[in-house]
Symmetry: C2
Subunit: 134 residues, 2 copies
């Protein structure tokens, strides 16, 4: 089974331009071409694109994705290093999640504060309402 660039784009969530860009910078191997010279992505290509988008979504910089891509291309001998990269990235992601959750608490606090203000305001109309500072 092969896929046009449009199909590859819509299935991976990347834009057509981005796919060509990734190819230019060596993040994806140039896919096969059909008789008319158009890109024909294989199932393997699609799977790799799918994985790339996971790395991208989790904020891995292109530089690092490229390193991973090149290792992958180099074959089995690099599996150890690839695993390391993934493990390190995973811990980055965990940290990021923790960071977001921490910020979420502040957000919740703030929203609750606005709600409290509204209740106060509804309770005994105007008069003396402090803007919180933070």
């Amino acid at each position: 089974m092969t896929y046009s660039i449009a199909e590859a784009a819509s299935s991976s969530g990347l834009s057509i331009d981005t796919l060509r860009y990734y190819e230019r910078i060596g993040l994806v191997e140039p896919p096969a071409r059909d008789p008319g010279g158009r890109r024909a992505y294989s199932d393997d290509d699609m799977a790799w694109l799918g994985f790339l988008t996971k790395l991208r979504t989790t904020g891995m910089p292109i530089r690092r994705m490229r390193e991973y891509a090149h290792l992958r291309h180099a074959g089995l001998a690099t599996a150890g290093r690839r695993k390391e990269i993934l493990i390190e990235h995973r811990s980055d992601v965990l940290e990021r999640i923790a960071e977001l959750q921490n910020c979420l608490e502040v957000l919740n606090y703030k929203v609750a504060n606005y709600e409290r203000c509204e209740r106060d305001l509804a309770g005994q109309e105007p008069y003396l309402v402090h803007e919180e500072s933070a």
Copy 2:
């Protein structure tokens, strides 16, 4: 209590340049100045910087932070809109966390896969080791 720009920077986690940049683009109100013309951040300024960094950490674009900042400056009447922004942002953050967690599963799967490969390799030496495709 007032704080120098260096103190404001190290306490907020922003760089000195970023603090001046935020001021230039109207994201923070120009702080007071000491007799020598240097910035003297107040406790309120510091609290606002702290909150800003939460918004930033959670990926709120500067454009939106600025909107929030301006509303805040406009006083109580804008509290409703500010609350809306925060609520919307909170749901963005929740989505983002979910997205990261989803990607995390893929990462875990991949790492487990590498580990399986290693065990196989250790088990009966060379012979027949498939590179997984995705």
